[in-house]
Symmetry: C2
Subunit: 243 residues, 2 copies
DNA sequence: CGGAAAATTGAGTACTCTCAACCAGCGTGG
DNA sequence: CCACGCTGGTTGAGAGTACTCAATTTTCCG
């Protein structure tokens, strides 16, 4: 079967930043990809295991996480269709964190040696992949700031702004009038913001009470973008949506 | 003057992971580098400004940071000689964070277009630079975990372990019997761990009281590596010292 | 319809912060 | 040579944000 259309979100994202010839696109889609689907919380990559493949998310959400010694979990990033989940494993031999599906989702998997070979012959693909890993890192940096220097209200507001901005930029269908498909549980939100689920719940209620957001049954509406961004000290710069 | 020896820490670090021909090294050192020295707290890169150069730290310490809306500072990473300070700016047009010298230090500065051109013709240099930015990102991820899911004691222990491990790996001279040159102030330590300077002070005292470390007048001694690593939930994996 | 997962609520606890004062080391200048 | 001032480190007391634990309600799915 032809899975060429599954690359559309990726190419749309890339083409906003770099020039990509149709030969480049053809070369990428021609790689031996395998499509796999996952139920929620399935591990795609496990910390400590040798790296052999790379995954491009094409449906659903995914996230990366690490577990600390007492069993607590810290989520490191969320991912939406059109994003790679483990690009760093192209050059690293052992994975340093876990990757999990967040809901029912699917990804294209390719052997990393095939992708590495393509990169050597395709400068634009190479550039795009490197840029992607730099954008990942920029988000990690902002998360360090979010966890280190913002209180619970600001952390959650910031995370909601980030996800909304990325979903909007990706042109996700439901993103009309700031309404987003938002399948995160409050526990996942808590594990991403370094809070407990209970405190996350109370903080969300405070954001709702103030008329900033509406969030229920996997639907997030941002009722007042400006005030939410102010509460979350959010600026889009670190997403580098232009260049 | 010949500044070729200033690249030694970089090449030593790189050669542990990848093969590098003498032509590769010559090509890199032959770029039009300018050496600049900095007094403490000098800005090398400012958030929001267009990126034009790349910096390789050759003496002293440096760090990256972001400021939040209320003026608080979050340090994102520390850097030692032989590390690049702003590799991501090769591909990003606007800097998303600040880079500052931590003490009296100096760096080699090169125009980023010159470095980009070299990368296109030197696959091994390219590979080394990409790997460096992936290692940066791995450290950012671990910091997310550190800030999100560890208490003050563990955060500080973890940070001390990381810096000690990196200094030891770099073969810094003073690193005999776990004694390290450690010029960070408690305020900088606090800004890196998301704590206040006061609480950082009390937590350091508790680590000293327990016989884990000795820290004064810019000298850190790790008295009991195993217990400190246990307190800090520290594992070297994310540093990817092998591969 | 039933059971599990997710969300919500309450009460008590504790870790970390804030503010403010004080001490120690060090380079500069009188 | 000592006084001075600045930065960095230390201490104390009180406040507050976020946590823990446990129970309850609501939602989601098979």
């Amino acid at each position: 079967m032809d899975h060429r259309h599954l690359f559309d979100p990726l190419f749309r994202r890339w083409c906003r930043r770099i020039e990509l010839s149709s030969q480049d696109k053809d070369a990428l889609t021609a790689l031996p990809w395998a499509q796999r689907t996952f139920t929620r919380d399935t591990y795609l990559v496990r910390e400590g295991e040798p790296t052999t493949m790379c995954s491009l998310l094409v449906r659903g959400f995914a996230f990366r996480q690490k577990l600390v010694e007492d069993g607590a979990r810290q989520i490191i990033s969320f991912h939406i269709p059109g994003e790679f989940l483990d690009l760093q494993n192209l050059l690293l031999e052992v994975s340093d964190h876990n990757v999990q599906s967040l809901n029912r989702s699917s990804a294209l998997i390719v052997n990393k040696t095939a992708l590495l070979a393509l990169m050597d012959s395709r400068p634009h693909i190479r550039r795009a992949l490197w840029l992607d890993s730099l954008l990942d890192a920029s988000v990690f940096r902002e998360w360090v700031v979010n966890l280190g220097r913002r209180d619970a209200r600001a952390r959650i507001a910031h995370l909601l702004c980030e996800l909304a901005a990325r979903l909007k930029s990706a042109g996700v269908a439901q993103a009309e009038e700031d309404l987003y498909d938002f399948p995160l549980t409050q526990e996942q939100l808590a594990d991403a913001t370094g809070l407990t689920a209970v405190h996350t719940n109370r903080t969300l209620q405070s954001l709702r009470r103030d008329g900033l957001i509406s969030l229920s049954s996997s639907q997030l509406t941002i009722l007042d973008w400006d005030r939410l961004a102010e509460v979350g000290d959010f600026s889009e710069r670190y997403l580098h949506h232009s260049v």
